[in-house]
Symmetry: C3
Subunit: 467 residues, 3 copies
């Protein structure tokens, strides 16, 4: 038959390749799940003490952050909080956040199996770096901007660099549609609303409400400037949804490491302004340039997490260096435990009563500031090396990567439902060369015949020709 497309052979090849990827997913997910079940059965028990303690007790926060926590955390996108108590659940969720940030760099480009393996490799590196920073360096990072956002962003970016394929950039399917943009705003709103709680979840005592207030002010300020710059920096001076969805919440990242510190409202506001500037200009000018040197960043993670995280880290170094007893009162040693005297315990009076402070390291504010910078450098190094190595592993032939026709597509792994209402389509039918509008409940079935639709009308309401 002339004009008929001979697509059978190509289809078969396409289907076969995806079929092997799908079976790989089933096998790898199954093996991992079984392994975790066995490991949990043998090693993991409730921590009955932590069970009854709510978030906010410094003892619970401080203990139990050794190598054992490496098996803890989120191993898949949807799963695998290995946990002992409520604080462990919380820290596992934090690991999850770090991984999800990295996922943003490679979304639509790696297969589910590659993403699972990536998370498996990333978790111990993440936990190790966090352990080094929080326990050894005793660095302040209440909202995780250093250990979650910087780490996640640059780990993901280097995985993306190493697994780069020239077909992922400018791909036709890497675009957006109206309903999808509106839908995404739910995510932005929820992140906005819950960011103050996120940034103050592990803050202690008097500093917790400060964490809420600082984050709130930063986000507000960031939102206005993000709108302003989104219009100012595009050629036709119109808002771009990408900026509104992402840069309006960059302030939450940029205030993360310093949320529980004495910023004063103007300080929080200033951080928001800087975050918005960096984020919108990043999307507008930096991302296209990075793409050219193979740093392809599907969700613009560098602009929402990477650079705002760096701002937060630098801000935390400054805020630590200028901290003083005059500024914080007795809560200084609660906010900065490493500044507590090394040899004697002191009793401080906080708003909810007197507390005895554990011995610290007797650090000066300046030293604490340097440690903050050291943690940033260390996190960057670990993320870059870790991401590069992980990317190399993910390029092994075993993984059967996506190719040009499967990038950014639901097709290889999802049953895709119809785009439009199945019963609406038939409201407009062609009958003997004339268009007729018929209510949907009249129509039993519609078949495409050449360029017209053949409509089978249901028996209850037979169509009759008038004359």
């Amino acid at each position: 038959m002339p004009g008929r497309l001979n697509v059978a052979k190509a289809d078969h090849k396409f289907a076969a390749s995806n079929q092997s990827r799908r079976i790989q997913f089933i096998v790898v997910a199954g093996v991992l799940q079984l392994a975790f079940l066995i490991i949990f059965g043998i090693f993991v028990r409730y921590d009955s003490a932590a069970d009854a303690k709510y978030i906010g007790d410094p003892d619970v926060v401080a203990k139990k952050r050794g190598w054992s926590t490496i098996v803890r955390g989120c191993f898949h996108l949807h799963d695998g909080k290995i946990t002992f108590g409520v604080m462990d659940l919380l820290y596992s969720d934090f690991s999850c956040v770090g991984i999800l940030i990295s996922y943003g760099c490679v979304l639509g480009k790696l297969t589910p199996v590659q993403m699972m393996i990536m998370a498996m490799i990333q978790v111990p590196i993440f936990v190790g770096n966090e352990y080094l920073g929080l326990e050894i360096f005793m660095v302040k990072d209440v909202g995780g901007s250093i250990f979650l956002h910087i780490f996640g962003a640059y780990f993901g970016l280097f995985v993306s660099l190493v697994t780069f394929d020239r077909n992922v950039a400018g791909h036709r399917s890497d675009s957006t549609i109206y309903h999808s943009e509106i839908f995404s705003m739910i995510g932005t709103l929820f992140l906005w609303m819950f960011w103050p709680s996120f940034n103050s979840a592990v803050a202690l005592q008097d500093s917790r409400l400060r964490g809420v207030i600082n984050t709130y002010i930063t986000l507000s300020s960031c939102t206005v400037v993000a709108f302003l710059l989104s219009a100012a920096l595009t050629e036709d001076r119109k808002f771009l949804m990408m900026h509104i969805q992402n840069s309006t919440i960059a302030g939450g990242v940029a205030v993360g490491s310093v949320a529980d510190m004495q910023l004063q409202p103007w300080g929080a506001m200033l951080i928001g302004v800087v975050a918005a500037i960096v984020s919108v200009t990043g999307y507008r000018f930096l991302t296209p340039k990075l793409e050219k040197i193979r740093f392809h960043d599907t969700c613009g993670v560098n602009n929402l997490h990477g650079m705002p995280g760096l701002i937060s880290g630098i801000a935390s170094a400054i805020a630590c260096a200028v901290a003083s007893r005059e500024m914080y009162g007795d809560s200084l040693f609660v906010v900065f435990p490493a500044m507590a005297p090394a040899n004697t315990t002191v009793t401080v009076s906080l708003l909810n009563g007197d507390h005895e402070i554990k011995t610290g390291l007797g650090r000066t504010p300046g030293t604490q500031g340097l440690y903050q910078l050291a943690a940033i450098g260390c996190t960057l190094a670990v993320a870059i090396v870790g991401g590069t190595l992980t990317g190399l592993i993910l390029r092994l032939p075993f993984f059967d990567s996506y190719d040009r026709v499967t990038y950014y597509s639901d097709e290889p792994h999802w049953h895709r439902p119809e785009d439009g209402f199945p019963d609406r389509f038939t409201q407009l039918i062609y009958h003997k060369g004339e268009t007729q509008v018929v209510p949907e409940h009249r129509v039993d079935d519609v078949t495409l015949r050449g360029a017209t639709y053949e409509v089978k009308v249901n028996q209850a309401y037979e169509l009759q020709e008038a004359n």
Copy 2:
């Protein structure tokens, strides 16, 4: 005019039938609302003691569960929490959940009036069965898997069986579209996130955080296995949204009755695995078979609530039978009040201090396990008989049921808005046989004339022919 469809008469008949259904709704809803207003005015007052007590006080939980509670609860889909205090609000919400589960079996098949009457009949049956189980049998069911999920699922399934019409199965409108599937994931995410709170809302003392942790682990484990099996059990090894939306949260049901017990992380994980297996295989293999024997289940309630509920019930019997003082410490009598000594009060030391425990029944763990099984059997019997009778009532001619053309349709009861943006459609117009793209703001009105659109251009920007 040849080719013109003579649809006026049939339309009239269709409209008349729906009109009577709509008027019936107005009358029934009005009468019920008026009745409740009068009943509330005469009988219902604040419980000022409960007013000031927060959830978690055993006294409040235990009291006031008599026949008076039968008028309590949710009488409509959206309404009617008759309540005295905060705990009553909570238990009314629980009744609501039970009814909404049943609604899942009959959605799109019963008229609003039938659904209102169904709820009116179901609430007293639900409350009676719950009273029998919680107060007389003293059964443990912290997350309501037995009294909410099993009851709701099989009540609804038998209503569906009795009201079955061969036209509901495989109906053309019982299908889905892309945006709708994505939108539904919001529901799945919220259920996932809030399920730990739901399962621990009425847990007491030390067992509350255990409820959170167990539910969290079960859901995580269930999610991974649901993805895995969704791919493994479909012919082309692709994920099916139906599984992802439903089976990923089946673990929340399956851990419901045992959430506050000593499962250990591996136990919670195992329950999640079993829940996912049962749920996905249920959707894949069991639901089509059940449909053939007239158990039509619109939302697959049996796979998300029915069978996972049974798993939870059986797990609770086992967990009760192996409970011991060694395992629970002093909190044994808090978690299992029926095991407390029958004659003397004991004082136990919990994490938040010493508490005097009310006298119980001196039950052994084994006996408690048998009572759990008895409650399952009893709930199944009540649900099946109640559902069958309710279904028979709903088949009375009074109700003017839906028919083939109105199933699963918004049409009979809703003003349905347009599917597409009214102003976008006109961007592409045909002008003198040639296609022209015109910005939307140029177009005043569009009329369908035969197979082409007649476009009225607005005056501000007149179209001029160039030559």
Copy 3:
């Protein structure tokens, strides 16, 4: 070329006008943000005492409501909570709500710059009126129905009146589509769920749970009656989404001022019934009439906020006038601080212990009722005068208002993404006069040529003609 539309000139004019609006936005937003940053830097500091106090402490609620609070509040849609402590954040959010309500009247009709300036003018008027009512009149308004809802609604309505242009009414773009209506229900659900918390956020002591319960009952009752009337009052007896989205939550407004008072369940229920009646009849009959006399109300704010707010105000006058020591017990002076003795402090026993009550004004219940009425009248007057003046300011030529082609359109200020999936469109292609369905991943690019699409097939899967 004949048939070609000469649209270039008109387009240019259209673009130029919007361009100036967009630049105006950038300048105004920038100047305001800079001004706030400077004001914050000079004037605003943490209130370290409030920092550590949670909501519910009467001292915090009562103090600091002077002129200084005028700079506080929300200055833009997304921004600008100027704040000192947590209570200030809360009250700033309240100001925001008032402004967002007013925005509902003018949405799609004012430019972003006009809306920013409107908020800038409205905030000090709002705060001044609230200060007069809460501090000088000592009026009860726990859920803000008087100072938020009445004020916001009539302020916005008079801005809309003054800025009225005959083209805004019945505009073709002021319509709705299916996905948008469904999406909006998320908002309705969230407002429904969180309204009990909103109405009891600033309630004190024993009255907080009463606030939750009353609001819950009112919303439930309102929902049923709204459904009932939505069907009863439309000609074809079908539900209208507009009623379901808005009138079902009118009860939350109508119970706002009295949520913490002794309504009894039947009282709360009755308020819900009245709210639904007023709201649905308002949408059905009043709004079209108001539009004719130039009160164009984009979102029907008068029906959701205005009239239900008036009901709440009147209900509060009645509830205050009948309040007595018998009804409230010792908590009378907590709920109505103005009724506390003027000269001596009294100690009252509440459910959580004994409290010393601050001296009040020794008001009688009747006097308190009259003050409630006075506050309503005062709020209406301030809103009407303020809204009218604001509207006059917004009509200044400086503002470059929208015109007929730009009302209700994303076009002037947003990059608008495509409506449909870019890669799906090509699944159905015309090849040599015959329709062929080709999987999306086959197609590289699609171009519109006359009435048909020219499809460029990707190289990996070349199309071959069979013969």
